[in-house]
Amino acid sequence: VVLKDGLRSQVSAALKEGRVTPTELCQRCLALIKSTKFLNAYITVAEETALKQAEESEERYKRGQPLGVLDGIPVAVKDNFNTAGIETTCASNMLRGYISPYNATVVQKLLDQGAVLLGKTNLDEFAMGSGSTDGVFGPVRNPWSYSRQYREKSVPKSHSEDKESDWVITGGSSGGSAAAVSSFTCFAALGSDTGGSTRNPAAHCGVVGLKPTYGLISRHGLIPLVNSMDVPGILTRCVDDAALVLGSLAGHDPKDSTTIQEDFKPFELPNLTDVSKLSIGIPKEYHAPGLSSEILALWSKAADLFKNAGAKVVEVSLPHTCYSIVCYHVLCTAEVASNMARFDGLEYGHRSAMKESTESMYAATRREGFNDVVRGRILSGNYFLLKQNYEKYFVKAQKVRRLIVNDFVKVFRSGVDILLTPTTLSDAAPYMEFIQEDNRTRSAQDDILTQAANMAGLPAINVPTVLSERGLPVGLQFIGHSFQEKQLLTVAKWFEKQVQFPVIQLEEVKGLDSGVFQHQKSASFS
């Protein structure tokens, strides 16, 4: 079994047939995590508990009673999901050392299916950012920085430059999860998506990143950024695997009052061959300022791909797209200001040594615990929520949000099944270049293509499409109707098959995967 194999198609069978054991899978992944430590994708590696879970899974397979396809499968979880007994930090000093007493619903569901939790992945502090560069544990490095494909294309500026300085970012904020999946250290990872935080790093790291419909997957235990827009995100190496994980996570949760009441039925994706009944919408406003010519061309090529295969491809308009960033800024910061109010150092988390008064203790705790990005958003948010500003900003933004939602409603009602857009403006930037601009500027730039789907609560997915001229992944985004994940993923799977995105060629992975373990099939994957 090679690490690049699809879960449902190959790994599951291999586990059932005993060609590979959960313990072997787990050990292999743990070893790979160690050898790719420089990526800084993981904040916490839960080696002991993971091996124990793998052992228990193995017992079940021996008895012929696996819990399901996810039994024994190594997974990783973004460090803003609560995991009982394992540190949950949100990459912030505020929660350094915080051991949650409960599991997020999605984590519990994975564990109940027998998945093996390898560890918690790195992110921008409290999920605020589009680079995974602003957490207290340092930035995450895009595995593609070390790929043969990128190395071949990059021209070192001088001989003294080593591979340390020209690495590229993962995108964010779920960069750790994206890097973990991209570098084969796990088969699937959970991220979160509020403005694009799963799709953006998925695009930059060349993996599938699914943002489900708001209300489909429980947020109980996901430390919130914007309650009305957050969703747990799913990162995998192929669309089939995303559907599989979705099936194990979706559905009503009595602990989350914003989840749908109706039953959710997990589905297998059909192998679509005939796209003639499909109507693909191309929103013209997504030709955003700053969109690289390379991606623009790719987008066009993809549209042609659908057209040539018989699908109906139409240009559509989402006229309020240009307002979504400003609208998002108001609503996001307002909810952030509110959600962060609980971090006062009293009940849990960091508490300052300042003791002069309760107020001074609060102030010092929050200054010490939060980075500039978080504090900036809290200040903005509180400003917008002031009585004298509420109507002008918050209520106005909610009204604009309604307009943005209506844009999508109109387009979908006119017969369009799926929207096709770019996911990012360009391929991954080098870290040194990325940090030239501040977090707020970067977020405003990078969120433009992904943000509106969060406003409207719609499902959206990044499918890795092609390598850029620099040898880095570029993905395209599909946006679907509310709760129509099956249709969305079916189309995404068809597209994935058409484009045949190349496998990353990483030295570290190659070494581990060839001839080391007994039960595997033929080794190479280049």
Partner: protein, 463 residues
């Protein structure tokens, strides 16, 4: 000097009587060990979400219906932000935009001139009832310069009942709150015991001259009993009048009632206007209630609340109970007030009536004058009475059958009060309190008295 019109409004927080809290499953219980009834949500652990408690909504609907409110079929939840040690999330979940019930009224009665015989009925408008979370408790330990926080109460469901400024003095405020308390206890939506913090009252007080606009109002807090409510309101009215007549001004401030000194004092940490930065609570969808008309056919009735269904099952409110008592037993209206005012007294009265031939109109005297004054003297509740309804009925039967005089009956009652387990008949026999019924015997006794007092008998009555 021009007359002053005092204006009094009330904000009342009633703790909902439920097993668990408004948004979490932890238990509601008075005086439990500190921080023993705190769920992850109550402690504001990151990632936890509120889940609405059905029973709390039902309690609020019942209360709204009993107060003649319109129940909003769609109401919303909001966050009210401020930092305080007993508010773990940094905000309280409340209903600021659209509360669950609005535009009701409460009728209450007052005695004119302190005479029970002249009662007048007044009405106060209920502006709204909203559901909200209670906060925890902070205990300030000044000796060690620390504050101890107990979150047991954090998240308990409250109904905030807002009474419009239709009242004019302490007595009215007290009577209105008393009636509300009785209603809540009858409904069971709140136990409303002020001493246990289940009913908290803040008073808004202002004064103005007739024809002029309302004056600046102050808010009075820290009122721990109905008696103190009347005192606090009256004191504040007086204070404002004196202040204004001396050329001063009234500040729009919050004041605390000091029960020891009997006055109101400014509360230091409430100075300055707070901006609560209200925001919709994004984790709770709008609360939708149904009635018989709007209830969809295929809806699982476990999942919804039907206002009409609750309305049909409301118990008799105190005002209705009083009317029934007056009608059924022929007692006076003011009697019915006293009966309902004392927990268990109405039931006691009815129980005695059922066990005796004495007319209710006569029984009531024994209940309100004799029994009740004994209970008050010894600070006992009706439940704690050593004289049971059975014993009292027994006694009253003896009286009714003319086996004893009413004077004798009072002596027997005094003896019964000792709770030594003797029956009325036994006491009568012991103390030789039987009434003589034999005519001849009575004549003999009288004759003997007359014969023995020849000097005092100054006139012979012709036969």
């Amino acid at each position: 000097l021009a007359p002053w019109i005092p204006v009094v409004g009330l904000e009342i927080h009633a703790q909902i009587s439920s097993n668990s809290k408004l948004f979490s499953g932890s238990q509601v219980q008075f005086a439990a060990p500190p921080n023993s009834l705190v769920s992850f949500f109550d402690a504001s652990l990151p990632g936890t979400l509120p889940v609405l408690n059905r029973r709390c909504v039902e309690a609020a609907v019942m209360t709204g219906l009993a107060l003649n409110c319109s129940i909003n079929k769609k109401s919303l939840f909001d966050r009210k932000h401020y930092f305080y040690a007993d508010l773990p999330a940094g905000y309280q979940i409340t209903q600021q935009r659209v509360p669950i019930a609005v535009n009701g009224s409460l009728s209450y009665s007052l005695c004119i001139d302190n005479k029970m015989s002249q009662m007048v009925t007044k009405t106060v408008r209920i502006k709204q009832i909203q559901l909200e979370q209670d906060s925890g408790k902070s205990l300030h330990d000044d000796t060690r310069s620390q504050t101890l926080v107990d979150l047991n109460r954090a998240g308990v469901g409250l109904m905030e009942v807002v009474m419009e400024p239709d009242m004019c003095c302490g007595e009215e405020a007290a009577a209105a709150v008393r009636e509300l308390q009785l209603i809540l206890q009858t409904l069971g939506s709140s136990q409303a015991v002020m001493a246990e913090g289940q009913l908290r009252v803040d008073a808004n007080v202002s004064v103005h001259h007739p024809g002029e606009p309302y004056g600046v109002r102050t808010e009075v807090k820290n009122i721990n009993s109905i008696r103190f409510l009347a005192k606090a309101v009256d004191y504040e009215i007086q204070r404002q009048i004196e202040e204004l007549e001396n050329g001063g001004t009234i500040l729009n401030e919050t004041r605390a009632f000091d029960s020891k000194l009997g006055c109101t004092v400014p509360m230091r940490d409430k100075e300055g206007k707070q901006d609560y930065r209200f925001m919709p609570e994004p984790n709770l969808p709008p609360l939708i209630l149904y009635d018989a008309k709007s209830l969809p056919a295929n809806m699982n009735h476990q999942q919804v609340i039907n206002i009409d269904w609750i309305h049909e099952r409301l118990p008799d409110l105190p005002s209705v109970k009083r009317e029934k008592l007056v009608e059924q037993y022929g007692i006076l209206p003011e009697h019915s007030f006293t009966l309902l005012n004392e927990d268990g007294l109405a039931e006691f009265f009815e129980s005695v009536v059922n066990q005796t031939q004495m007319k209710p109109k006569k029984v009531i005297g024994w209940i309100l004058n004799d029994l009740l004054s004994y209970l008050k003297q010894h600070s006992l509740t009706v439940k704690e009475s050593p004289v049971s309804s059975f014993l009292l009925a027994d006694l009253l039967n003896l009286l009714e059958k003319k086996e004893i005089s009413s004077t004798a009956a009072k002596r027997v009652l005094a003896e019964l009060w000792k709770g030594e387990g003797k029956t009325p008949l036994e006491i009568v026999k012991e103390q030789k309190l039987e009434l003589l019924q034999d005519q001849k015997e009575l004549e003999q006794i009288c004759q003997a008295v007359i014969d023995g007092q020849e000097n005092e008998v100054i006139m012979m009555v012709p036969r």
